[in-house]
């Protein structure tokens, strides 16, 4: 087996090792963090605004404005 091949295998072992090590530590950190936050800084669920992918390229603030406009209109014309 070529020297290059062996470097590649070593790279694979080290690489996957790091990836797992990193993500396992991240899991631990998240669990710890979530526990602490829920214990000491409970602030209710995330707002929808803070979540979710913005797909259509159309501004959330715009959607908001539209909804507002329509609601406001509805309110005044009950």
């Amino acid at each position: 087996m070529t020297e290059q091949m062996s470097r590649g295998i070593e790279l694979m072992l080290v690489g996957m090792g790091i990836v797992f090590l990193f993500l396992i530590m991240l899991v631990v950190a998240i669990n710890l963090m979530s526990a602490l936050v829920q214990r000491y800084f409970p602030d209710g669920p995330a707002t929808a605004a803070a979540a979710s992918v913005n797909a259509g390229g159309i501004d959330k603030s715009v959607v908001a404005a539209i909804t507002a406009a329509v609601h406001h209109y509805r309110a005044r014309h009950k």
């Binding site: 797992f20 990193f22 936050v37």
Partner: protein, 375 residues
């Protein structure tokens, strides 16, 4: 008279090389795939068009003095992929992942595709005429990360000559995820496993979503700073979105800014699709290895999920393991679709989003390893 002659000598017909003609056809093929087949159109359309423009004879649009030559500096200096990554970060919701952190391991396992195809590239050196350096192999492997900006960032650092082929492979296979993954997922799972319903995810608080990107960056700083440019810009975008106090910056990052950079990035990537660079046995190797990378990554994710399901207190549907390759959000949709086929009441989408975004982190980490070890 000699005007007419010099004009004739300046026509494309007179100057066309076979290579340029062929590469323009490749460009048109990419446009066809983007427009008619819906293959990642946001990227493949500009890439395809860039390929066409850069292969127009005489015009020299990708040579010094041409617009693509200057736009390419945005990739060369690593700016464009990082800005895209920032925008993607702003569009990413880590909620599902934070609600069920152990699914992060699926995002780790699926990166096996990266290193398997790296080895594959080296193995191909056995074939006479193929000559992949370790850098080439690493850049090819990252296709298995199923993450565009990461692949382009790594390729631009390790193997600029292969950048065009690698980016095209990465985005094409991401678009093909709905075709590549299902057979593998079915082959590796039993009907019973695919039926497994998972527990409703808890609601994640805003504070957790604000703290997470900072925690991620800190961990990256301590363990693997070579991944910090990617992870850092991703975390910045995500923080801008979750913190809620810089909404206008977050909106710009995930809309106008990412759109502008996407146009420039796509054109610049396309400008690397020159005949000299693309019309080589290497390219076939890249396309082949890319497919292998996706397949192996998918398999690794599913197998990992089966393992975890054995030992986990709460049930885990192995299908969501396939989402670990990232390719957000297609891979998660695929898992959801197969789940519904086996059990019409089984909505896996949110459960699959966890490993899906974890896969983005996983491939950024793998990229960091490659960037720091492959010199």
């Amino acid at each position: 008279m000699e005007n007419l002659l010099s004009l004739w000598q300046s026509t494309g017909i007179y100057n066309f090389t076979g290579g340029q003609a062929f590469m323009m056809l490749i460009g048109f093929l990419l446009l066809f795939l983007a427009i008619k087949k819906g293959f990642e159109p946001l990227l493949l359309l500009p890439i395809g068009f860039g390929a066409i423009l850069s292969n127009i004879p005489v015009a020299g649009i990708a040579e010094e003095g041409g617009i693509l030559y200057y736009l390419y500096y945005g990739i060369k200096l690593g700016i464009f992929p990082l800005l895209i990554f920032m925008g993607v970060g702003a569009m990413t919701d880590f909620g599902p992942m934070l609600a069920n952190p152990k699914t992060l391991l699926l995002g780790a396992a699926a990166q096996f595709g990266i290193f398997a195809s790296l080895l594959g590239a080296l193995a191909l050196n056995a074939i006479p005429g193929l000559e992949f350096s370790l850098k080439d192999a690493a850049a090819i492997g990252i296709i298995g990360g199923a993450d565009g900006p990461t692949a382009i960032y790594v390729a631009s650092k390790l193997a600029p000559d292969l950048l065009g082929a690698i980016a095209v492979a990465a985005y094409s296979y991401m678009a093909l995820v709905p075709l590549i993954q299902p057979p593998i997922m079915r082959a590796l799972t039993t009907e019973a496993e695919r039926k497994i319903e998972m527990q409703q995810l808890r609601v994640v608080s805003r504070t957790e979503k604000i703290v997470f990107p900072l925690m991620l960056l800190t961990l990256c700083t301590l363990l693997l700073p070579s991944a910090a440019p990617l992870v850092g810009m991703f975390a910045l975008g995500n923080l801008m979105n979750t913190c809620g106090v810089v909404e206008r910056l977050s909106q710009t990052a995930q809309n106008e800014l990412i759109n502008i950079v996407t146009i420039f990035l796509g054109l610049s990537v396309g400008s690397k699709l020159s005949a000299e660079a693309f019309l080589q046995a290497k390219t076939l190797g890249i396309l082949g290895l890319g497919a292998i990378a996706f397949a192996i990554g998918t398999a690794a994710g599913v197998i990992m999920a089966k393992l975890m399901n054995k030992f986990s207190s709460t049930p885990i549907n192995p299908l969501i393991g396939a989402a670990g390759v990232s390719a957000v959000p297609m891979a998660a949709r695929v898992a959801n679709k197969l789940g519904l086929e086996s059990n019409p009441h089984n909505f896996l989408l949110m459960h699959a989003m966890g490993p899906n975004v974890a896969g983005v982190i996983g491939s950024a980490v793998a990229a960091g390893v490659l960037l720091s070890l492959v010199k």
